[in-house]
């Protein structure tokens, strides 16, 4: 017998005896989840306000921008204050054009790249799949966010999002992923909630443990 079969035999034998404790049968539904989970507000405005508050508590920067012109201006200001030398981005209508517009050497990750080169970039500019109001989270995937490392290796991650990408809560975010990718899920889906952090030394918060020290979300 293979080890797989051995394990399944043991599992089935074990389960032939019914459990003593019982916590109620049947899986909870999404509406069950929503009844107990943190509230998110009813209107879009409330939810944007919630997202903004969560982002600032998490020490991320969140800005609503009017149009492409304002977006360009924001990015240029960041480029100048942080003295960016190299940027990384991925093939995408919003992120790529704006990254290239910065006039700096630009690494586009889609077709594969040298990891040393990505490590040298000052910023990774990507798009995302969704923004989650409930927790101030952005959802990026390996298909739609330039791979696995773009949003994690450079010291600053800039996300360019659109207003309509805001979803209310985590159940909605998962429902959205299911609907968008079903059956062809990206090999990585990451819920990013604030810049990288650690509290491993005396429980004192330090940003930028391994991932980016800074997270900026610019929302059109």
């Amino acid at each position: 017998m293979s080890e797989r079969e051995n394990i399944f035999t043991r599992i089935r034998e074990a389960l032939s005896v019914e459990a003593h404790a019982h916590h109620g049968a049947g899986l909870p539904s999404t509406s069950d989840h929503r009844r107990v989970m943190p509230p998110v507000g009813l209107t879009m405005d409330e939810r944007f306000a919630l997202f903004a508050k969560n982002a600032s508590d998490l020490r991320a920067t969140f800005k609503l921008v009017k149009d492409a012109v304002e977006l360009t201006a924001e990015l240029r200001a960041l480029r100048d204050t942080e003295k960016w030398q190299r940027v990384a981005t991925h093939k995408s209508p919003l992120a790529q054009t704006h990254a290239i517009g910065l006039g700096l050497p630009t690494l586009v990750t889609d077709a594969g790249y040298d990891k040393h080169e990505l490590e040298q970039c000052d910023v990774g500019i990507s798009e995302c799949d969704a923004l989650v109001a409930q927790t101030g989270t952005i959802v990026v995937t390996s298909q739609t966010g330039g791979g696995r490392a773009l949003s994690c290796l450079p010291p600053h991650h800039v996300v360019i999002a659109r207003r309509e990408q805001l979803v209310a809560d985590l159940p909605a975010a998962f429902a959205f992923i299911r609907q968008k990718h079903d059956a062809n899920y990206p090999s990585m889906i990451s819920f990013i909630t604030g810049p990288s952090r650690t509290g491993d030394i005396e429980r004192i918060l330090v940003l930028g443990a391994h991932g980016p020290k800074k997270l900026t979300i610019l929302c059109l």
Binding site: V17, L27, G147, C152, F191, G199, E202, G208, A209, H210
Partner: protein, 464 residues
């Protein structure tokens, strides 16, 4: 010879009166308690959430065969190699086999309690590989050659000064004892390792049956990089970690964060469903998932304690446990410490050797009350005590109860005994504090309160 029980007693005796240790733990836990409680209030109905989480885990664990099968099939259908390990030895052999085949030299790891469980690092280092733990806390304890102190905070017992000293000795790089500076030292060291590493090894917090994905919860981004840069990725995970549906994460991710660290959601919650897929920019060429039994099926077979397999390793029961806070994480001598460790270790490693852990409890029930998936922890400790005494009754316990039972059953005899007791207490005054005191082993570390002058019954009679 030192058995786990004598080692526990010795270490507990040393750590419990250590005021410095106590101070460090109290400060850390104090900070945790404040944020955890705020976050619980953030939920509309925290108790309701616990009920739903317990229900979901009940379904998952009691249909483990179906979920596990679906999980493995879906992973395989997208190019992942799934391995099955019945025990620790098999787990190590599978992983060493992959490393050999890949000609690996440098291996980066993100936090995985399963790898501690099967002593993977030892095995890999022994076979000549360079292994680097990337989680900051794990990195620190690895440098110090210590086991992790706590499920969630591996280095919580250390001060920044001690960490600085460790960095100075081992890395020759410790600019100050500011947590910020120390973290940046680790970041710099790890960056180089990430770029060199051939293989990345991770654990997993959840396995999603319905979509064939694992989910990793972390704050630092170290697991993200471990899963992104090396050419081969390996995930070692226990078979019990399944959740039926993707949407279940909507509940479990925030609950794990609230109870684990007091956050709303940890910084990165990432699902992986295979190696790099066509059209993706990066990611490992090969992805291996090693599913580990290692006595989990024995716990599954215990219908009474099966719910303990629902544990999400949040560490909350450790944090509230008066025993854990007094004796510290290392005293347990186990991979999984605190109440949950005391419950499952006898199942994983043998009741006879590990039954003392169920005695290391005041049965206060704080663990059961806090557990987000409602594992009946303190009753399981009682059940382990019962099982241990059924398996191998101790003669002196039997003797004590043989004498005690008839006395307690006869009121006359009982009141006579208490009278003797009171007289004995007076005599004890003569030897108090010396080794002649029959209650010496109790009074070494505690007071023995004097018995009341009269019993309730005598007092009642007087009042009439």
């Amino acid at each position: 010879m030192s058995t786990p029980a004598t080692q526990f007693n010795e270490d507990a005796r040393r750590v419990a009166p250590d005021l410095r240790h106590r101070g460090i733990i109290q400060t850390a836990m104090g900070k945790y308690e404040v944020v955890r409680d705020q976050r619980k209030l953030w939920f509309q109905d925290w108790q309701g959430a616990r009920n739903l989480a317990a229900r979901t885990k009940f379904e998952a664990v009691n249909h483990l065969d179906q979920h596990l099968d679906q999980f493995a099939r879906l992973l395989e259908s997208r190019g992942t190699k799934v391995h099955w390990a019945s025990n620790a030895q098999q787990g190590r052999d599978i992983i060493l086999g992959i490393l050999r085949e890949k000609g690996a030299k440098v291996i980066v790891k993100s936090k995985a309690m399963t790898s501690e469980e099967i002593h993977l690092n030892n095995a890999m280092e022994h076979a000549g590989y360079e292994v680097v733990e990337s989680d900051l806390g794990e990195f620190i304890v690895q440098l110090r050659q210590e086991p992790p102190y706590h499920l969630v905070f591996p280095a919580m017992h250390l001060t920044r000064g001690e960490i600085r000293q460790t960095f100075q000795e081992k890395l020759n790089d410790a600019p100050s004892d500011e947590p910020e500076d120390l973290t940046m030292v680790a970041r710099r060291v790890m960056r180089q390792k990430y770029l060199q590493a051939d293989v990345g090894i991770t654990g997993a917090n959840f396995c999603i049956a319905e979509t064939g994905m694992i989910s990793i919860t972390e704050n630092e981004g170290n697991a993200r990089l471990t899963a992104a840069l090396p050419k081969t990725m390996i995930t070692l995970v226990g078979i019990e970690k399944v959740l039926p549906r993707l949407e279940d994460l909507a509940l479990f991710l925030p609950m794990l964060a609230v109870m684990g660290t007091g956050q709303a959601l940890t910084c990165y919650n990432t699902m992986y469903g295979g190696p790099r897929q066509p059209g993706e920019a990066d990611g490992p060429e090969e992805y291996h998932v090693v599913l580990l039994d290692n006595h989990r099926t024995a716990l599954l077979a215990d219908a009474e304690q099966r719910d303990a397999l629902g544990c999400i390793r949040c560490g909350a029961c450790l944090n509230v446990c008066p025993i854990f806070r007094n004796v510290g994480g290392h005293t347990y001598g186990t991979v999984y410490g605190g109440p949950i460790g005391s419950v499952i270790t006898p199942h994983l490693r043998g009741l006879t050797q590990w039954k003392h852990l169920s005695e290391a409890s005041s049965l206060c029930g704080a663990c059961t009350e806090t557990c987000p998936v409602k594992i009946d922890l303190h009753h399981h400790l009682l059940q382990n005590r019962r099982n241990a005494s059924q398996q191998k009754p101790s003669w002196w316990q039997k003797l004590v109860f043989k004498i005690f039972a008839p006395i307690a059953n006869q009121p006359g005899l009982w009141s006579l005994t208490t009278k003797f007791g009171r007289f004995g207490m007076k005599l004890r005054g003569l030897v108090n504090g010396t080794v002649l005191d029959p209650a010496h082993s109790w009074t070494k570390t505690r007071d023995l309160p004097p018995m009341a002058k009269q019993s309730f019954k005598e007092w009642w009679k007087e009042q009439k």
